[in-house]
Symmetry: C2
Subunit: 225 residues, 2 copies
């Protein structure tokens, strides 16, 4: 869970030529909910820039349970870490809803990277940000109660995807299982704790819709043990 500030790709740093190169060599692909963009363990051939929709990045453990490590939103760059490090993908990516993606071959990405020293500074900045979030996370995950982590996830979802027009309903709908994968707990526990947060007036649920009712309260809970 919890990578609040995703990696919005800085097209503005590209020269017109590079931007054109990217658009010529890149292909737009569309994925439906549940379709997978790439798979953990495979060698990467491309990087992916999310144009429209929502994507979850996750690992699957031996018991077949998903742990979501990142949520991507439009503008986000995905798969660049495996490409840069010349490693296999460290996680899988799947669309949460109908999604369109600009797929850039590895070679083109490197070519553009070579032309743009500022872009590589940007990537470093990106990595440090992600790493800081991962560490913050790490520190919390080990010690916080599931209840606090659930509050944190609710806030993360708001921060990442925003709200519906009513200003309080999260603009993303996840299954209980997906929420569980984000929090790092069992589905049943998510259900019970969502009820508990509802009883405390912190949020409301209607099927997969979640309304945040008391953000300061959720923040306090998320900060606490």
């Amino acid at each position: 869970m919890f990578m609040p500030h995703p990696a919005a790709f800085p097209f503005e740093l590209l020269s017109p030529a590079d931007e054109q190169l990217m658009n010529n060599e890149g292909k737009v692909e569309v994925f439906q909910r549940r379709e997978e963009l790439f798979l953990e363990g495979k060698q990467p051939a491309c990087v992916y820039i999310l144009q429209r929709g929502k994507v979850k990045l996750f690992t699957t453990d031996m018991q077949g349970r998903e742990q979501i490590v990142h949520l991507a939103r439009p503008g986000d760059l995905m798969g660049y870490r495996a490409v840069l490090g010349n490693d296999a993908f460290s996680c899988s990516a799947a669309a949460l809803e109908t999604t369109s993606v600009l797929v850039i071959p590895k070679a083109v990405f490197f070519q553009i990277l070579d032309h743009n020293p500022t872009l590589s500074h940007y990537i470093i900045k990106l990595l440090t940000t992600e790493l800081r979030h991962a560490e913050h996370h790490l520190a919390g995950l080990a010690r916080k109660h599931v209840r606090s982590r659930l509050a944190e996830v609710a806030l993360l979802l708001a921060e990442t995807y925003g709200y519906e027009k009513d200003g309080s309903t999260l603009a993303v709908q996840l299954t209980r299982e997906e929420v569980a994968g984000l929090v790092g707990t069992a589905t049943e526990t998510v259900i019970r704790l969502l009820h508990s947060l509802r009883d405390d007036g912190l949020l409301a649920t209607d099927g997969r819709k979640i309304r945040l009712l008391d953000i300061p309260g959720l923040q306090r809970l998320a900060e606490s043990n």
Copy 2:
């Protein structure tokens, strides 16, 4: 816990001039056990290259408990993330034993970075590695039992700092509280589970000395739930 492959600084990538610059401008400082190199939340003025000794990097939560996020060994670069990202330190660093450190002012570090495009590639690679470990970790932390995580920590300590001459006693001595901070659990739990691992013949303890007796067994445990 668990950042197995630290950031060994690649002096070999530096030009002789840059290496000299680093040695002229950098200062060697010595720290005793428990002395702090830098503090979470402060603005960084320097980066640190560990020359001799052992250092823990950790965050402190509201209840005053330490969560260790990284263990550094000679050759490791520390504090570069805050410097690169122009952020406050995201964690504190303290010596685990008598330690000497080469302290490089921020400006000098940047100057050297500018001269060396390969060095910035190297840094990117470093960051991707750290991030991969952090994610691996994240996926495990949320779901694994403390017992498994303790086994993982034992193996991590071996990997990071190696063994005494006997080939099985860990070459690092931590308090139970520090081990707890590494595992992400309570001190009492560490004590109980160390006994449990001893009863299963996986390791032996003698005060703060830990001997690994059955590495495949520990690996199996660490992999398991």
